[in-house]
Amino acid sequence: MIERKERKPYWRHTKLQMLASLLPFLMVMIVFPLYAERLNSNKFLGFPLGYFLVGHGLIVIAIFTIASFVNRQDAVDHWHGAHEDT
């Protein structure tokens, strides 16, 4: 169980982790389609690069974002003693 005085630092840490995970992903999601046309002249795995990044790329980045978030947030939970007791 989390100690009372740990709550504030825990929540500050959690907020930072939320921003660190979410903002890069949203940036990427906004930027990729805008440059898709220019990137399409290159190819990757046989795909036009722009199409590949908007389609496969964003899904892979999303999986990576959630995986790293789960890992980091779990570390934050344990650091502050906020984790679930199993």
Partner: protein
């Protein structure tokens, strides 16, 4: 009666059970293939491909019957991350995603990805900002969560009244797609197939609620992935020598691009707010496949993705699934699995769209009206495609296809055996079954828990509580079928409206209620109502064509309005009560018992003490 706190017991044989299910499904398809080769009547094979899988899902639902509320509303919090994610992904994609999105990929090309991008972003936002806290709170519906979070029955009832609208739209859209696919498969009228769907839904859901949905939905998800991956893999092996369609269709896509250059397809310059995705009518093939912004302007693209993300992150038919995970850590992980499964499904269908475009360019474009292949003439005869045969050498743009027929056109055009064609239908039916089941259950629970019993806090005895929920589920399914029969609307549009409305009405308040502990009850009410009203007005304005902003972008106005109203109204009122702040602090920490489960336990303890005295 099971205890609530310590049930973290995940069934260790889940993998085996679903292995058996997948083998059963595969052998069913192989048996159908054998029967077809032995000369069984075509109609029998078609009916087998419709009924056998539906009976399997409904049977799994019946087999997981339960009378324990914790099982009925949260699957006993025993669904491991992968299966919870599988359920979320398949009910998120649904028949609309499988059937309509494939058509959009085929007709609109890269621009259709704005919907996918929004969906993926929604799952990410949900995993990071909403899901862990929703799981820790442990409420069974989004409205119950809001009501308890603000300790206000009014918030609960208002949010339930508002969220009924998008849920009903989703049930309607999914039943429309599912019944249309089943009707196409069996050759019977759509109405009859809607009735079949409603019977399967009620049979599968009423017995076990969320428990049934978790396992039947997971089975339907696996069936849908398998059913779509098989035709995609066969066509991919044919075209690229690699059965991994999802990653091997790149060279085909570039070849398509070169042929489109030869055909001289235009590269239009659109206004940034243009939004012209294909509807249900015949649509000429005039857009390039890998060229962005041919039918959706850049601003529309980004805004669609962002507003869809907001809606998906708090979708009341997806979020309660998070509550079935055994813990907060698993709840976060389940969304990761959801993105994985979602990605596999969408990459499969987008690959199928690319292969279909390739076949159309190779076999149809450049030929004359008299020498079109047989599959196309039968296809055109059924009204799913058409050709403008005036020119001696037909260009690509003289062919038009119906969006919702593209998925089923690929196995026909590739001349695969009839059973594989029916398998594609079975995949679409499985996906719509899973999504319709998820939204029907969410709608039924919302009506029973938050609308009918929303005015009281005491936790009811389980007998009447489950009886009411079961009848509400039956009512929700029939209501959806009635709407599906009466509304002549485009299912994709219904789905986009539903997600837009959810994003406008619920997203700002749910996110603020977690991340801003001072949000007051009145602020929440104002946020929900203003967001919903603005979104409805934006949809009406968009349909009437007033400001030139499409109705599917309703969240663009509504979300900022909702956030601003919630913050301003909160600022006018005194700070919220101490026990609410304490509850938010409790909700933010993963450790400890789920807030709602503790309430249930205490209520039960109180009742036992009262009966002892």
């Amino acid at each position: 009666m099971t205890t609530l706190g310590g049930t973290r017991l995940v069934n260790p044989r889940l993998g085996t059970y679903f292995g058996i299910f997948v083998s059963a499904f595969a052998s069913l398809v192989i048996l159908a293939l054998v029967a077809e080769q032995l000369g069984a009547p075509d109609l029998v094979v078609r009916w087998i491909m419709l009924f056998a899988p539906l009976a399997l899902y409904a049977g799994i639902g019946v087999a997981s019957h339960t009378n324990d509320p914790a099982d009925y509303f949260a699957a006993g919090r025993r669904v491991p991350a992968f299966f919870a994610g599988l359920g979320i992904a398949i009910s998120g994609v649904g028949g609309v995603g499988v059937v309509c999105l494939t058509g959009l990929f085929f007709i609109n090309g890269l621009d259709a990805w704005c919907i996918v991008n929004g969906f993926v972003a929604g799952l990410v936002v949900c995993a990071i900002m909403v899901a862990p806290y929703f799981r820790k709170f442990g409420a069974y519906t989004v409205s119950s969560y809001l009501g308890r979070r603000f300790d206000s029955r009014i918030v609960r009832i208002i949010s339930a009244a508002v969220l009924v609208v998008p849920l009903l739209l989703v049930v309607t859209a999914e039943l429309k797609v599912g019944a249309a696919a089943a009707a196409e498969l069996t050759g019977r009228p759509v109405i009859e197939m809607s009735v079949v769907f409603v019977i399967a839904l009620v049979a599968g859901l009423a017995a076990g609620g969320m428990r049934s949905l978790s396992w039947a939905g997971a089975a339907a998800g696996l069936a849908a992935i398998l059913a779509l991956a098989v035709p995609a893999a066969i066509v991919a092996t044919d075209a690229t020598n690699l059965p991994l369609a999802q990653f091997s269709h790149g060279p085909v896509l570039r070849a398509v691009g070169r042929m489109e250059n030869v055909q001289g397809l235009p590269i239009p310059i659109l206004s940034p707010f243009a939004f012209d995705l294909a509807g249900t009518e015949l649509e000429a093939l005039t857009r390039r496949m890998s060229h962005p912004f041919g039918s959706v302007g850049p601003a529309s693209y980004i805004l669609t993705a962002l507003t869809l993300a907001a809606g998906v992150a708090v979708a009341p038919w997806l979020l309660p699934r998070v509550g079935t995970a055994p813990g907060v850590y698993e709840a976060r992980k389940s969304l990761g699995w959801a993105v994985c499964v979602f990605g596999v499904l969408i990459l499969t269908t987008s690959a199928m769209a690319v292969f279909l475009r390739d076949i159309v360019l190779e076999q149809l474009a450049g030929s004359s009206a008299t020498q079109l292949p047989a599959w196309f003439t039968t296809f055109a005869g059924s009204g799913a495609a058409a050709v403008d045969g005036r020119l001696p050498k037909l260009p690509l743009s003289s062919f038009s296809f119906k969006r919702d027929a593209a998925l089923f056109a690929l196995p026909i055009a590739a001349q695969l055996p009839a059973v594989i064609v029916y398998l594609t239908f079975a995949g679409a039916i499985a996906a719509s079954f899973a999504a319709a089941a998820a939204s029907t259950l969410a709608l039924g629970t919302l009506i029973a828990e938050d609308a009918i019993y929303g005015s009281r806090w005491e936790i009811l005895a389980q007998g009447p509580r489950l009886a009411v929920t079961r009848s509400a589920i039956a009512m929700a399914a029939s209501l959806g079928a009635a709407f599906a029969a009466l509304l002549p609307a485009d299912p994709l549009k219904l789905m986009l409206w539903a997600i837009g409305l959810t994003g406008a009405a619920a997203f700002p308040v749910v996110v603020l209620s977690i991340w801003w502990k001072r949000l007051s009850t009145l602020g929440a009410i104002a946020g929900i109502i203003s967001g919903f009203v603005t979104a409805v007005l934006a949809i009406l304005a968009g349909e009437a064509g007033w400001f030139g902003v499409p109705s599917t972008l309703c969240g663009v106005f509504a979300i900022p309005v909702s956030v601003a109203t919630a913050i301003i109204v909160t600022g006018l009122r005194p700070a919220p009560a101490r026990h609410l702040l304490e509850m938010v602090r409790d909700m933010r920490v993963p450790g400890g018992e789920a807030v709602y489960d503790r309430e249930l336990r205490l209520a039960r303890l109180k009742r036992r003490q009262a009966s002892a005295n």
